[in-house]
Amino acid sequence: MPTGNPRGPLDAVIVGAGVVGAACAHYASRAGLAVAVVDRGSVAGGTTGAGEGNLLVSDKEAGPELDLALLSTRLWRELADDLPPEAEYEPKGGLVVAPDETALGALRDFAAAQRKAGVETHEVPSHALHDLEPHLAPGLAGGFHYPQDAQVQPARAAAQLLASARRSGAVVHLGEEVTGFLAHPDGTLRGVRTPHRELHAPAVVNATGTWAGDLARLAGTHLPVHPRRGFVLVTEPLPRVVRHKVYAADYISDVASGSADLQSSAVVEGTPAGPVLIGATRERVGFDRTLSAEALRRLAHQAAALFPVLAGVRAIRTYHGFRPYLPDHLPAIGPDPRVPGLFHACGHEGAGIGLAPATGLLTAAVLTGDQPALDLRPFRPERFDQAGAAQ
């Protein structure tokens, strides 16, 4: 495949051509850095390609992840103007519904804190839910509308970000696995090795998502990234029966749960191509690729409970992916003090598509030595060592 033209020595090697690696490459090249991207497979070949493309603020409680999501929301809107329409950016908004008054009360408190942090949201009384979603089940207590929630087609978005980086001079090596690191005698990294070449650069960015723990180990350090499996159901193409991203309030507690057991609360949404996506389950079962009938049962049950019309609609496909899970549900972004020259941009769990632009922008700032737009301390890669030491 064609690659960009290196303009002399590299400033950084980005490992991983998923949406996060592509966003890092996009913002770093735009900041004038000479970067190379390496991936053992295709663009979007890992978790990005298995994602739904959720750009959500609605599911995040006030705190560092929400700040990251709000920054990303703004950046995605800018990117939508810069990138070709193939990325399918759709600012459709989210609708979180509550089955009863108790759930609605909890949701109200949750939304109030989010509003203070800068989220746009307003309550939708029970009788007005059907103005937003005509096919929604009757009898729901109410909900909250989040106009900032949006969607992209994740694989296309990643490919367009990478293509944009290449236009700014980034070099891309796909189908090449990083097999080792190059280091100075004092341990500072000076590049990576693949079966085909050595790439020399003073900075290496680990954007390998669910496999980031392996790359960290190869560099001689530690990052506790684990796979958290999710199934998505795809229906036959339909006329627009679902207008927003719609989900029940218990989704928020599933996302925040640390349990390894199967969690499920369906997010239901239409796509420009016609199929409705129903996703996703969350469970920690390693890289188990076998179909789970229980996961499909729950997704279908919950989707049909939200939209009864879907019960007679056919699923034509299901797929699964492995989210990069870190124990505190926050990504690792920034330099790794244990290995000078190593930077992380990984561990976004199920929010990687949404959080990619902010992660890319912050990573570019760190690499150029600029002041990052957000406080990076909550995302320090070494924080798990300290937690371990404190116990």
């Binding site: 497979g41 070949g45 390609g49 599933d254 191509a273 879907l310 007679g312 699923a315 496909r317």
Partner: protein, 520 residues
């Protein structure tokens, strides 16, 4: 969360709570039929699930009853073999030893116990669940458009899911009048209709000769059979050919029919474009080099009103790959199941027979199905393999060698993509042109068919890439990967929602409920 919102009661065919049968066979083509009647004859309790309404699969096709065809055998070799199998099927159905479930589309096969518990305990005899969508008779009037969910439990499974036709696209292949070669044969066998008055037959593989001979015998005109491979290259594999005199005779019979009807056979040629507006009116035929690249200046037009085209068959593997069955690559680059001397897959308790192990034809499928049944009986009952098993094995090895020789000769050359222009739709369901796939595989960074699919939607439509998968893989520069379709056919969400929950099969489901605040 073990409730279910289904309003569908368990239909009569649903056996989710019944004790497991000994053997569930998926597919009632030659392999599945042979296996099912043999196993029933050995005293096993057998369920035979098949998507078709009548047994026989893609090979043995019945003329539609309304046509009152007097001699279906005229269009089939070995119809008497099928007639005998069907008689045995009826006999075993009468005794209740075998249940034939027609119109049942199996969408997945899963072990009953979830993976975690399977690892810990000393494995009990496995029980498989086969989940199917069953067609209901006309007027059944269910909300899902006449489909009901069925679950079959079984101690062992035999996958005889057969194959589908490989299509390599070319400009104009979506015109009315262009049909699959297998489709043309099916139209003839079940509808007794010809695809056109003048039908060019093109592509690659032994099926083309059979299709052309059948069309000519049925009164159609076949201006040419256009074969991309080079028949003389059979001569490089004399051993496999000489050990299969029956196969040679079959080919010779087709050849004689073609000669009698004055049909031209053009080898190392391809139809590289079909022309017409409302319907195909002519095709361009070009001579090919060894890699199937068209030779400049060799193009000529052949007028016709139909084109039957196909480039061999591809094993249908998704049920097996979802179970984790190991695959290998056959001589034409296509994935097939890796089977042992008794037709066992790499997953204990799962057998397979017929085209899933590599394309080899009906006679091979019959031998493998029968052999598999003996092996299943041995595994369940501890009986010995009968002496006949050795005979079947010999037949299988001989026919497999023939199949491999054919696959080598008809392996698509890498140059075929040269006859695609960028505007040619490769994925018909989603209307994705070759240019978009080339862009994805080029500057956008897709290195396999999966990523091409994500970037272009090629293979995301109704057929889930069965039609375009091999072509997309070629354009992405990759060998075709084994099928991965966790849902092997569309399944109503209502069926999924009514699946038995984790653990023992669920009882009658309660009415729908709003989402519960669960999982905290």
């Amino acid at each position: 969360m073990t409730t279910s919102p289904s309003e569908h009661g368990a239909p009569p065919g649903s056996t989710g709570d019944d004790p497991p049968c000994d053997l569930a066979v998926v597919g009632a083509g030659p392999a599945g039929l042979a296996a099912a009647v043999t196993a029933a004859g050995l005293g096993l309790n057998v369920m035979l699930l098949d998507a078709g309404e009548r047994p026989g699969g893609q090979y043995y096709r019945h003329p539609a009853p309304g046509l009152r065809a007097a001699r279906p055998q005229a269009l089939h070799h070995h119809w008497h073999v099928f007639a005998r199998l069907e008689r045995r099927l009826r006999a075993h159905t009468t005794t209740g030893r075998l249940r034939h479930l027609p119109g049942h589309h199996v969408w997945t096969v899963l072990p009953e116990q979830p993976a975690e518990t399977r690892q810990s305990a000393p494995a009990p005899a496995p029980v498989w669940r086969l989940h199917a969508v069953a067609d209901e008779g006309p007027g059944a009037g269910s909300e899902d458009g006449g489909e009901s969910p069925v679950t079959v439990r079984a101690h062992t499974v035999l996958l005889a899911t057969g194959a589908y036709e490989r299509q390599l696209p070319f400009p104009g292949w979506t015109l009315p009048g262009v049909v699959g070669a297998g489709g043309a044969q099916a139209m003839l066998k079940s509808g007794l209709v010809l695809p056109g008055r003048r039908t060019v037959v093109a592509g690659s593989g032994p099926l083309l000769l059979a299709v052309a001979a059948a069309l000519a015998a049925a009164g159609g005109t076949v201006p040419a059979v256009v074969e991309a491979a080079d028949y003389p290259s059979y001569a490089h594999r004399p051993a496999a050919l000489l050990r299969n005199p029956g196969k040679l005779a079959e080919g010779a019979a087709h050849g004689a029919t073609l000669l009698r009807h004055g049909v031209r056979l053009l080898t190392r040629h391809a139809v590289t474009a079909a022309h017409g507006t409302a319907r195909v009116q002519a095709v361009t035929v070009e001579r090919l080099d060894r890699d199937w690249r068209p030779l400049p200046g060799s193009a000529r037009r052949i007028p016709c009103d139909a084109l039957a085209t196909g480039h061999g068959l591809v094993p249908q593997l998704e049920l097996a790959t979802a179970l984790g069955c190991a695959t290998l690559r056959t001589a034409d680059g296509t994935p097939a199941l890796d089977l042992d001397g008794e037709q066992r897959t790499s997953v204990p308790g799962v057998w397979s027979a017929g085209e899933t192990g590599g394309i080899g034809g009906a006679e091979l499928a019959l031998a493998e199905g029968e052999l598999a049944a003996y092996s299943v009986a041995r595994a369940l009952r501890g009986t010995r393999l009968p002496p006949r098993a050795a005979v079947l094995r010999g037949r299988r090895d001989r026919l497999r060698a023939f199949g491999e020789a054919m696959a080598t000769v008809h392996r698509p050359g890498v140059g075929w993509t040269a006859w695609l222009d960028d505007a040619t739709h490769v994925c018909r369901c989603e209307e994705v042109p070759a240019g978009a796939i080339r862009e994805a595989a080029g500057e956008l960074g897709a290195r396999d068919a999966r990523t091409v699919k994500l970037l272009t939607r090629a293979g995301m439509g109704w057929c889930q890439g069965r039609m375009c998968g091999p072509a997309v893989a070629c354009l992405a520069g990759a060998e075709p990967a084994p099928d991965r379709r966790p849902l092997s056919c569309p399944v109503p969400l209502g069926h999924l929602a009514a699946l038995p929950g984790a653990g023992p099969p669920a009882q009658a489901p309660p009415p729908p409920q709003p989402p519960a605040p669960a999982d905290r």
